[in-house]
């Protein structure tokens, strides 16, 4: 079903139609928040807030200005950035939990490198982190990221590039450290 049609239905009082948006975008919204805040415990609460805000503000959505997905991800981005800004950086204290997750076969070196990459992403300035997460993890086109971030396309390209350079430095450092 066309998204604009669904929006109209919701605005006409068919609340249940909003379920389609939640089902369609819950994954990307939750992942994005988790990757930006590095908080797998509260990311679902924050994602729920995103959908509630979108529902409450649905009347303000303008299809002429952006796609629904872009609008929703902008709300998610703002909430995640606020949460990440409020949060005390954790990367100095203990490694993020995703890094050493679940795989007992994984070598210690490999785990260490994954943890180092996690730390490197969290150490990025927020604007570089959001651009990098949206481009590399969510594979969004640069134009859409520029809309979400509210900046020019060139700025996004430069932010992503700078983030990549920093992560490549981490990789190179590992290559140099490990014989």
């Amino acid at each position: 079903m066309d998204e604009q049609e669904v929006i109209q239905r919701v605005l006409d009082g068919d609340t249940e139609s909003f379920r389609l948006f939640v089902e369609r975008y819950a994954g990307v919204v939750t992942r994005m928040i988790r990757n930006l805040t590095d908080d797998s415990h509260t990311c679902e609460d924050l994602a729920q807030e995103v959908f509630l805000t979108a529902y409450a503000k649905l009347r303000t959505f303008d299809p002429a200005r952006s796609q629904f997905c872009t609008w929703l991800l902008t709300i998610a981005r703002n909430k995640a950035v606020n949460a990440a800004g409020r949060k005390k950086p954790r990367y100095m204290a203990d490694p993020p939990e995703q890094a050493d997750a679940s795989d007992p076969e994984m070598s210690a070196e490999r785990k260490e490198l994954l943890a180092a990459l996690d730390r490197a992403v969290l150490a990025l300035p927020l604007n570089q982190r959001t651009a990098f997460v949206l481009a590399e993890f969510e594979q969004l086109p640069y134009e859409q990221i520029a809309q979400i971030e509210g900046v020019r396309l060139g700025t996004i390209k430069s932010r992503i590039n700078r983030a990549r350079v920093k992560l490549m430095e981490v990789l190179r450092q590992f290559e140099a450290d490990i014989p």
């Binding site: 609340t15 379920r19 939640v22 959908f51 509630l52 993890f137 490990i178």
Partner: protein, 81 residues
């Protein structure tokens, strides 16, 4: 160990992970609860208004003024447009 390979594994891991169906249900419950609260809020306002004669009078006056303003605007449009 090839660091580039690990980098790709790391990226793939970060791109994974979905939410369960219960997440959608939770969101829909929260939305319905909010709608119900709003409806109750509207009813409470209506009850407050009907319980107070001055509130009823104020609503009638506001309605009359809005109606009058609209009539004046229409006349103005017809005469000066």
């Amino acid at each position: 160990m090839n660091p580039q390979e690990v980098f790709d594994v790391w990226k793939a891991r970060k791109s994974q992970g979905d939410v369960g169906r219960e997440f959608t249900d939770q969101v829909m419950v929260a939305i319905r609860r909010r709608e119900a609260t709003r409806a109750i809020g509207g009813l409470v306002l209506l009850r407050h208004m009907t319980a107070r004669p001055w509130a009823k009078a104020a609503a009638i006056v506001i309605g009359a003024l809005l109606g009058l303003a609209r009539i004046i605007a229409t006349i103005h449009l017809i005469l000066f447009a």
